[in-house]
Symmetry: C2
Subunit: 352 residues, 2 copies
DNA sequence: TTGAAAGCGATACCAG
DNA sequence: CTGGTATCGCTTTCAA
C-alpha cells in the first residue's frame, strides 16, 4: 500500500502534524526534524493524498475541463495550453469530452463538481438557462464555498469568459474576399447549439452588410470534415463564388469534396475556414483561415479561473485593498482575444 | 455550498447511514424512507462527493490517462475511445499531457496516483526501469491495495499492455512498395524514447530483409510535421525511392516539403505514414498509411484495466473459480491489435 | 430497518 | 517548535 502520513510520522518518530508542517512549511520546523521527515518520506515514497487533503482544505487543486469533441484539433490546442498554465500553478486537469451532447455535459459537470476547484467549459453546448442552473447549483457566482466556472468560446452571463473576436475575423475575411472581387458568399453553419456559430454568423452578417455583399446561408452541419463534405455540392450549386465555413474541419470537408468533383479552388470557388488548425496549411490548396489565439484562450481562461479561486481562499485580504466601487475594482469578466486572417491559396479572385 | 449527506439526512429526518443506504442499496430501506431521502436529495441537488467516498472505499472511480502529446491527433482518438468505454463503467478520466517529457511523466503519475484507481499510460516515454520503479511504488503489479497500470502502444514487463501489430503493418507496407518496384526505402525515425519507434523499426528491418530491400535510416526526429519537414531534403537526397515515416504527422511534413521543393509524390518518391489520422486522407496526394485500431486500443486498455480493478475489489471470489495454474487462468496480459495498410495516392510505381 | 460511531488521509487549531 | 485532537464527507460495521 502506498505510504500515508502516519507511516512517515512513525518512521521519522514524530507526530503527523510535524510531518505535515515539515513538508508544507519547512521553515516552521527545526532543521533536524525536517530532515528526518524528509528522509522518511523519501524512503517510503510518500506522496500526499490530494483527495484527502482537498476534503479538509476545500481545495482539490484540480480544475475540470469540459469540451464537446477532442477529435476537433482546435480543442487539443486549447487543452494543451490549459494544462501548461494550470500545471504552473500546481493544478491538475480533469478532462471530459461530451461528444457534443448537452445532457452528457450537464451530468458530467455535476459528477465532477466535488472533485475540482473550478471549471473551464470550452464551447459548452448546454442552453444558457441550463448553464445558469448549473452555475447556481455550484454556487459558481455566489456565496463563499463555491465552484467557479469560466466559459471559453462563449459568452453567457453571469460567467466570466474568454472568446475570440469573430466579428473582426469575419470582417477581415470578408474584406479580403471583397477585394478579390467576390460579391456573393456562402456560409456553412455549424451546430445550432454552438454559440461560436451564432457569433460567427452574426459577425458575418454585419460584415457582408457593410460591404454590400450577398450572404447565402447553407444549413447547419456537424463541425466535422464529413459535415463539410455533406454540403459541398449544395454550396457549389449556389451562386456563391466564395464560401466561409464554420470551422477548418468543415472547410477541409468542402475542399475535399470540391476536389473530388473537380470544382476548382480557388478558380471556381474560394474557401475560407476558421480556427487555423495545424493541418490547414498542409492541404492543397492550403486553406485561408481566420486564426484564433488558442494558446491565449487557454492561458487567459486559466488565469481568470485561478483569480477566482484565489479570491475564494482569501475573500477579504486582497493584497491591494482598493476601496470597492471607487474605480472599477472588478477584474474584467470577459476577455476577447484577437483573430487574424491567414491568407493562403484557397482564396483567389472571383471568376468574372 | 453544495449539499452534503448531512443536509440530506437532516431534511429527510433520518440518519446519514440511512441516506447512504437509500441511495446506494435502495432495497435495504423501507420504501417510504427511501422516498423521503430521494426527495430530499433531489431538492437539495445532492451529489455525493466522490473524493470523500474514495477515501473510505479505496475506489475513486477515476482512471488516469497519461500521454505524450495531445496535439498529435492519434492520441485524441485513443482518448475518446477510452472516455467512452470508461464512462460506460462509471469511471471518469483524469488526463495529463506530458509534452514528451519523461520527467513530467513520472511526477505526474506520482501526483495523480492517489486520485485514480488505475492508470492507462499511452506511449509512455520513461525508461523501462523508471516505469518499473513507478509500478513498484504504486504496487501496480503486487500486493493488495494498489494502483494497476496498463500500458498502451508499448510493451514493458510486467505491465499488461495493448499494442498494435507494427511488424505486420510494416510487412504490408513493404510488400506493397516491393510490388510497386521499390528496392530502396528510407525510414524516418521518431523519438528515441518511443517504444513504437523501435518496434516499427524492428518490424521494418525484418520486412525489408525478407524482401531483400535496402533500408536507409534517417535520423530521429520529433513526431511532428516540422520533424518530417526537417529531414525531407535529406531523404530526397538519398537513393531511396520510397520513404516510410514514423507516423502520419512526420509523413505530412515530408509531403509538405516535397511539394514545396517540387519533388513529385509518388512520381519521384513514394511516401507511407503510420497511424491513419483523420486528415491523412485529405492531403494531396492522399497519404498511404498503416492504420492502427485506435478505438480498439482504447477499448481494450479500459477493459484490461477494469478487469484488474475488479480483481482488486474481490480478490478471492472470482465468479468462476477455476483452479489456478491448471489451465492458463490468467487473462492475456498483452493484446496486440491488427494493423491495416491503407493504400492511397502517395505511393506509386518506382521510377525505373 | 435504522442510528451511532469509527475511520479513511490529511490539515488546522490550540495547547504546551 | 511540537503534539493532540477535531474535522472534512462519506461508508461501514455493529447494536438496537
Amino acid at each position: 500500500m502506498a505510504a500515508t502520513i502516519k507511516d512517515v510520522a512513525r518512521l521519522a518518530g514524530v507526530s503527523q502534524s510535524s510531518v505535515c508542517r515539515a513538508l508544507a512549511r519547512p521553515e516552521q520546523v527545526r532543521p533536524d526534524t525536517r530532515e528526518r521527515v524528509e528522509r522518511a518520506a523519501r524512503d517510503l515514497g510518500y506522496y500526499p493524498n490530494r483527495a484527502a487533503r482537498g476534503l479538509i482544505t476545500g481545495r482539490t487543486c484540480n480544475i475540470g475541463v469540459v469540451l464537446p469533441d477532442l477529435a476537433n484539433p482546435f480543442f487539443p490546442s486549447v487543452v494543451k495550453s490549459i494544462q501548461t498554465h494550470a500545471r504552473r500553478s500546481d493544478y491538475a486537469v480533469f478532462l471530459s469530452d461530451t461528444d457534443e451532447d448537452p445532457a452528457v455535459e450537464a451530468s458530467l459537470i455535476r459528477a465532477l463538481a466535488k472533485q475540482v476547484d473550478g471549471f473551464l467549459l470550452c464551447s459548452p453546448r448546454a442552453s444558457d438557462e441550463e448553464l445558469r442552473a448549473l452555475g447556481d447549483e455550484l454556487g459558481a457566482t455566489s456565496g463563499e464555498p463555491r465552484t467557479p466556472i469560466v466559459v471559453l468560446n462563449r459568452r453567457v452571463s453571469p460567467f466570466p469568459s474568454v472568446t475570440a473576436d469573430s466579428a473582426d475575423g469575419m470582417r477581415q475575411a470578408i474584406g479580403h474576399l471583397h477585394a478579390l472581387g467576390h460579391r456573393r458568399v456562402a456560409y456553412v453553419a455549424g451546430p445550432r447549439a454552438s454559440w461560436s456559430n451564432r457569433d460567427r454568423l452574426r459577425g458575418l452578417r454585419s460584415a457582408t452588410a457593410s460591404y454590400d455583399m450577398e450572404l447565402i446561408e447553407a444549413g447547419n452541419v456537424a463541425p466535422t470534415v464529413d459535415g463539410g463534405a455533406a454540403v459541398a455540392d449544395l454550396v457549389a450549386a449556389s451562386p456563391a463564388t466564395a464560401v466561409i465555413a464554420y470551422n477548418d474541419l468543415v472547410a477541409l470537408g468542402l475542399l475535399h469534396r470540391f476536389r473530388a468533383r473537380d470544382i476548382g479552388v480557388p478558380g471556381r470557388i474560394s474557401v475560407v475556414g476558421f480556427d487555423d488548425i495545424l493541418l490547414s496549411g498542409l492541404v492543397v490548396p492550403p486553406l485561408t483561415t481566420v486564426a484564433i489565439a488558442k494558446e491565449e484562450i487557454g492561458r487567459r481562461g486559466v488565469e481568470l479561473l485561478i483569480d477566482l479561486l484565489d479570491d475564494r481562499r482569501n475573500p477579504n485580504k486582497r493584497e491591494n485593498p482598493r476601496p470597492r466601487n471607487e474605480r472599477d475594482d472588478r477584474r474584467p469578466l470577459h476577455r476577447r482575444t484577437a483573430t487574424q486572417l491567414i491568407v493562403r491559396e484557397s482564396t483567389g479572385p472571383a471568376r468574372s
